[in-house]
Symmetry: D2
Subunit: 136 residues, 4 copies
């Protein structure tokens, strides 16, 4: 296991909410992190799509962890803020969220990401995020 993945996984495994959602960390390299989530009927909004809050949670997490990969060991990160556009209903077998670092400052890191829904072998972007992550 590469040390970056290991570092992110250590934090990810402490997030009880990720287990509640059934999310899995599937990729972590310098400046880029991927989390996947299988569809679950327990995570829906009123029309049976995955809830915007679930999509936003994944978007937030991949941005935060992408930032973490650019910090020295021992540092931690918190999301100062994010903005997310929902561009299609989140339907399908699973979601794949990817976040990447755009710029890294001393105290603030700006990340972007996207959440893709995979349905019958087709991928569609369902959300786009831009986040400010603070290094603490």
């Amino acid at each position: 296991m590469n040390p970056i993945f290991e570092r992110v996984l250590h934090s990810f495994n402490q997030q009880t909410f990720m287990q509640t959602l059934g999310a899995q960390l599937t990729g972590a390299e310098e400046g880029r992190v991927t989390i996947e989530l299988p569809f679950s009927e327990a995570l829906c909004q009123q029309q049976g799509f995955l809830h915007a809050g679930v999509v936003a949670t994944l978007a937030d997490n991949v941005c935060g962890y992408a930032a973490l990969t650019k910090t020295p060991d021992g540092a931690d990160v918190v999301t100062a803020e994010f903005k997310i556009n929902f561009v299609r209903p989140a339907i399908g077998e699973r979601l794949v969220a990817t976040g990447f670092v755009e710029t890294m400052g001393k105290r603030l890191c700006v990340c972007r990401g996207e959440v893709i829904a995979i349905s019958q072998g087709q991928s569609k972007v369902v959300a786009l995020v831009q986040a400010t992550v603070a290094v603490v």
Copy 2:
């Protein structure tokens, strides 16, 4: 039960994710909606605070439902996008999220909201949201 609360509750009860989180609709009048969530160890991030995604989910939902209260019967709403600032750790016995309509256009409604954490009788703002909700 007032008809606005009833209308929002009908949709809220169809959101399985709200049950998964343990959230409750506690207020709905024209242009303003409140949702509460008791702390749960199943909803945390790596430091034991409620996850930013949980906070964002509540913020999204109160904005969407605040917009819904301003639409004619039969209309539904979807969040086009939101932006949220996290200003303090989400710790305490429970969260109270409130959303209100700022401006209502023909197709787009702009809402603001806040999420407050209540801890030992004290209230502190943990997040501030501004959202664009589309009427469909």
Copy 3:
């Protein structure tokens, strides 16, 4: 002149862009700042409304200066990011932008604001902003 207004005005007068726009600082107290701008044909978009960039400039400035009023003398501020919704065309005799501090942290200050257009004695909200201002 109150010392807060004086402090903000000192910075405002150094912003050449404010003079180019014809904007005026009209209020500054702790946590709240107001800037006004008379309509000018030199500041329009393709339909003859004041340009969204003009509206955004005012929104940014009132948030930044509202944050400045909460910092110790000698500190300066920079906008880390902002999000703005444009809810009506910016038409009328003048714009009035107001920004206020929502929460003040050690390094980041979250502000909100609005821009109002005044036309024939009527006021209408044309934009709503939420900003993160860094103290430097």
Copy 4:
């Protein structure tokens, strides 16, 4: 002149604010638009950098026009909202803003963009934007 560039230029030339700023449309193809701005002492903030409002204006405009290139003739666009991160001071000989369409819906188009400062032959990202543009 390609018809997309011509269409965007027609609108751009009607924006008096672009002339006030001294901005030039330098590229327009389907889904992507570029605007450049030479440094001017009339467009600065208190430290002599180009004002965040100038940067935001360019960011808004390239996103709006990128969306316009994806609409049928006769359609127009308005920015519903945007979010912008300022990641470095806007200093240098000129700014180059680029916007591109991420997703195009029936009524809303989500764009991203960046503003780069060019100084002594070096390019640095100074701002990152994510915008929602409404087709009207």
